[in-house]
């Protein structure tokens, strides 16, 4: 009995497609498959949320946006890491 494969993308594929999706680089058909997978996969919905949050946090690193005291705290923490308190 032949088994016609599902049209669904897997979660493993989705996490590699996230950037293309956010960039609007997926074809109409691929975007539909991406979103259809999201509808029925809470894990991937969460992953996409996390990716968006990561980007949102990165935005805050722009010098212009950071108030001086936050930037100083940040640099201090950063130097601590570089000095080897991590890894």
């Amino acid at each position: 009995m032949s088994n016609e494969a599902s049209m669904d993308i897997t979660c493993q594929e989705l996490v590699e497609l996230v950037t293309d999706y956010l960039e609007g680089a997926l074809s109409h058909e691929d975007r539909t498959r991406f979103e259809q997978h999201l509808v029925m996969c809470g894990g991937c919905k969460e992953y996409l949320r996390e990716m968006r949050k990561t980007i949102a946090i990165s935005r805050k690193l722009s010098d212009e946006d950071l108030p001086a005291n936050v930037r100083d705290d940040l640099l201090a923490l950063f130097r601590k890491w570089k000095a080897g308190s991590l890894r």
């Binding site: 032949s2 016609e4 599902s6 109409h28 539909t32 259809q36 999201l38 509808v39 996969c41």
Partner: protein, 239 residues
């Protein structure tokens, strides 16, 4: 946050709920929010439709307003169901949805409640159960077929089907019990979209073709249509 989508929302000049365009359906997350973008759709106020939302015409259909005809509904279930008016200029129909360049919310479909959604999820899981029972009878796994058949609730179905699926990774009837257990799990937590998908997947796997998947989705669409008292096959809503 929704950097990838450029919506331009323009004021609606029309007071009427139904304008020149076609009426279709659209699922949104709680608060009339787009489930993938977080975009907040302008809501209708009284008898005035929500403001028109447009997507850049040069990016159609990669970017566009997505909506459902009745048969598309089971693919996109979510918290809220809305009637949406789409402008006729460009409408693309694909297998799972339609895409237009402009749309506006007209009216909430009140009949799609969390309770109804949950019932839908359960109906899908129970249909998967029925499919499994049939196959087990044919495969002479009569005791297991009876046990599944006797389940009176989704929680019970999950409890009964789960151990059946653990019996063997390669035996196809055990795997079918696995699909039933999975569908029941998601129906129990009211993850309706996932439960309905799993039921359709079981149909694909047991029939060996996408036709099986599509037929199950058709059944699901009819279930929703009947319960919402929508004219089946017609994009227009008469609730």
């Amino acid at each position: 946050m929704s950097a990838m989508i450029c919506w331009r929302s323009s004021e609606s000049g029309k007071q009427a709920r139904y304008g020149e365009g076609m009426i279709a359906l659209k699922f949104l997350a709680r608060g009339a929010v787009g489930p993938f973008t977080g975009f907040v759709w302008p809501s209708p106020a009284g008898s005035t439709a929500g403001a028109w939302v447009e997507s850049p015409p040069e990016r159609f259909p990669e970017r566009g307003i997505h909506a459902c005809l009745v048969e598309h509904l089971p693919y996109w279930t979510d918290d809220e169901l809305w009637e949406v008016e789409l402008s006729d200029e460009k409408i693309l129909r694909s297998a799972m949805q339609i895409v237009a360049s402009r749309g506006r919310l007209v009216e909430r479909v009140a009949a799609w409640t969390p309770r109804l959604a949950q019932e839908f999820g359960q109906a899908c899981a129970l249909k998967a159960r029925d499919r499994a029972v049939e196959l087990m009878k044919q495969g002479t796994r009569l005791a297991e077929a009876e046990q599944l058949f006797a389940c009176r609730s989704i929680a019970e179905l999950e409890k009964v089907a789960r151990p059946m699926s653990a019996q063997s990774k390669t035996d196809s009837l055990s795997n079918i019990a696995g699909y039933v257990a999975d569908a029941a799990t998601f129906a129990r937590i009211s993850d309706v979209a996932t439960a309905s998908y799993i039921a359709a997947e079981l149909a694909r796997v047991t029939s060996g073709s996408m036709q099986g998947f599509l037929l199950e989705r058709s059944w699901q669409g009819r279930w929703i249509a009947d319960r919402l008292r929508l004219a089946h096959g017609s994009p227009h809503v008469s609730v």
